[in-house]
Subunit: 410 residues, 2 copies
């Protein structure tokens, strides 16, 4: 490379997004980039000329290893959608002025759907104006909902954390006996796509029956049928564990979490409260059956639990970062790196680049045939798909009993 | 030993309680016990003559290692308080009949306050009736609120999980920038004792500023002062992270989580909903400041996350189990094994036995001088106390990407 590289992170954080950053940095340096800049808080920060020289933070191999083990976006993230080019050329002119000033040859953006929209627009603008900077997207999202790639970096680690935690919750749930039984409802991220919720099935194995029911957001949720299933299960066992997506909806399109609102609960400060999906269903089951219920939200830990990351995921994230720089160096632009599954057993994957116009703003959902007919579990095909992605561990660098991260003064 | 041993687990599960069970089993076998029985669901299950022969489950050294890594009570737990002896002798007669039938020389009960009450009553009864079975308690609780012991097995692993998770949440919270800032409120277990909540301070280190505020249940909570502190912090930084105990209370004694109830929110099924403490405070802060807020409950994972257990904790739990059997074999009864801190640096601990009458139904709270004067953080003394207890890891036995546990058909 003759010029410099700039890299940004965008959208929701994951446990693997910094491994991609490490991959971008290493490959850019290996290919001769003089400087590797990091945008602070993505394209939004770049517009305010907020960026750093990554060499000041990654000073040796240990720093790079720590970066791979640091959850959430090291550079800071943003949720910023560029205007259409014809709507506001000024924003584009500003960005390209900064790129010129920094002598940027390759612009790498690590993110999900919205971030690929940014790559699409910037590369389109470069083509229109004959600007030489090349723009490559690097996929990242725990939601695993990007088109054209077999899976997205970040998903494997989140799936591993979910499988592990659900199994531990199942163990916990069977400990105490309640007269009318215990129903534990675990709420998992993924508003439209059920990839994360389905990963709860990973808890199942020789030593664990797994969750009893799994509900993805792709299919309409029937509360009454759900209640009947739980009732039936409680007639056979004392503890029932259910995994649900935060985004499950009724046949009429209303989110289950909206139902808590139908009674217009306003808090002491006059704000409408949106009761969580698990909370609502726990309360429903308690009311219908009279058993003890528990609502557990896996919350932001499912995207930030680096201490439980998947080695396959962290390595692939690193490779994808490197592949993005390589593609730009070889002249590609307006592309996203995708992961291809070459083989299931033994699992092997490779990278390719695909036209970002075919990826941006599209959403990949769980195929209908990977959910059981009655919609209350995922099939073996689903588990076979995700299982290779959670293999192997990335031992945290423990300092005084707690994982060490790479630190950037804020 | 000439007779047999029976062991039970009681109260809330932990990540270390099964390590104590493994220690009881190993030492009992080493000391010549013919049979080691496990009560299913504690004394309550024993009264229904539900028990197993542990040799059928721990068939080799690998099983014992898996047991140490299996969260929650392998034998099942209970929350059952024995009646006073003068109230209902029949219950005692029934228990002792079963002990006679099984030729029990030593009765080991792993649990917290209530479980030590069971040991106290059974040993008293044995003394009154001249029965030879010896009764020893084995401390266990993530709450760390037992008297006379430096700390309790289970606490170190929970503290390690809390420190690790809070650090990951802090990383996650700094990623995205919000116009008026982001306040994340993390709710941690421990209704009366702040040992777990204080462990959030473990996130603090060279690479992390730690949570901004920590509120234990031992001190009255002033909502207005809290709001002002948050406001002040938001004037200096964009992300504020707060750790609170689920049990914080106002000066007038009301639990903060009760305040959500003051508006008499009843759900669609007519049940009063108890809004969580973090949820309530997040809503309060959003109302007062207008910033974005997040409420995160660490929920039951903080007591069942074996995948993030502390090696010191798991080893001590094992030793405590062994010491309980040894004490019984040497003639002790009505005692609980305690951990003594022999040295801080290097950390060394040993076991002793203490009279269970001095422990049962007592509650050890965080000393006032281990909380800062304004009550919004723990002191270095607190951190120095807990830090040695989270050292070292217990590598999970990973099978197909997920930790393997020892399994008992239910």
């Amino acid at each position: 490379m003759k010029g410099n590289v700039i890299v940004g992170q965008s959208g929701g954080p994951t446990a693997a997004i910094n491994s991609s950053l490490a991959g971008v940095y290493r490959t850019a340096k290996d290919r001769g980039a003089a400087k590797v800049y990091g945008m602070l808080h993505g394209i939004q920060g770049l517009l305010q000329e907020r960026y750093i020289d990554l060499s000041e933070y990654i000073t040796n191999e240990l720093d790079a290893e720590l970066l791979k083990r640091t959850p959430a976006a090291f550079l800071g993230s943003c949720r910023y959608k560029l205007p259409e080019i014809h709507e506001d050329r000024e924003v584009y002119d500003k960005i390209f002025d900064i790129l010129n000033k920094l002598n940027i040859e390759a612009f790498i953006y690590i993110g999900g759907n919205d971030s690929m929209d940014t790559i699409k627009k910037l590369s389109d603008y470069a083509i229109i104006t004959g600007h030489p900077t090349r723009f490559i997207g690097c996929p990242k999202t725990i939601d695993n909902d990007l088109a054209l790639t077999d899976h997205t970096p970040g998903y494997g680690s989140a799936a591993k954390y979910i499988g592990t935690s659900v199994k531990e919750i199942i163990r916990d749930s069977f400990c105490l006996e309640y007269e009318k039984g215990l129903v534990s409802i675990i709420e998992i991220m993924g508003r439209n796509a059920g990839w994360l919720t389905g990963a709860a099935a990973l808890a199942k194995g020789e030593d664990c029956a797994g969750p009893d029911l799994i509900y993805l957001p792709e299919l309409p949720f029937d509360i009454e049928a759900f209640g009947n299933k739980v009732k039936e299960l409680l007639s056979k066992k004392s503890s029932v564990v259910v995994a649900i997506s935060e985004g499950i909806r009724l046949a009429d399109g209303r989110y289950v979490c909206e139902l808590g609102q139908s009674i217009d609960f306003v808090d002491a400060f006059g704000h409408k409260q949106l009761s969580g999906t698990a909370n609502y269903l726990a309360s429903y089951i308690a009311g219908e059956i009279g058993c003890k219920t528990r609502a557990i939200e896996l919350s932001s830990l499912q995207r930030s639990a680096s201490h439980c990351a998947s080695r396959v995921d962290i390595l692939e994230a690193y490779q994808v970062g490197g592949a993005a720089v390589k593609a730009a160096d070889e002249g590609d632009s307006g592309k996203m790196v995708v992961l291809q599954r070459l083989s299931d057993d033994p699992y092997q994957s490779g990278t390719e680049v695909k036209d970002v116009h075919k990826i941006a703003n599209d959403e990949k959902l769980v195929p209908r045939e990977w959910v059981t007919e009655d919609g209350s579990y995922v099939t073996d095909e689903f588990v076979n798909y995700v299982r290779p992605l959670i293999q192997g561990d990335v031992s945290p660098v423990m300092v005084d009993g707690i994982p060490r991260h790479l630190y950037r003064q804020l």
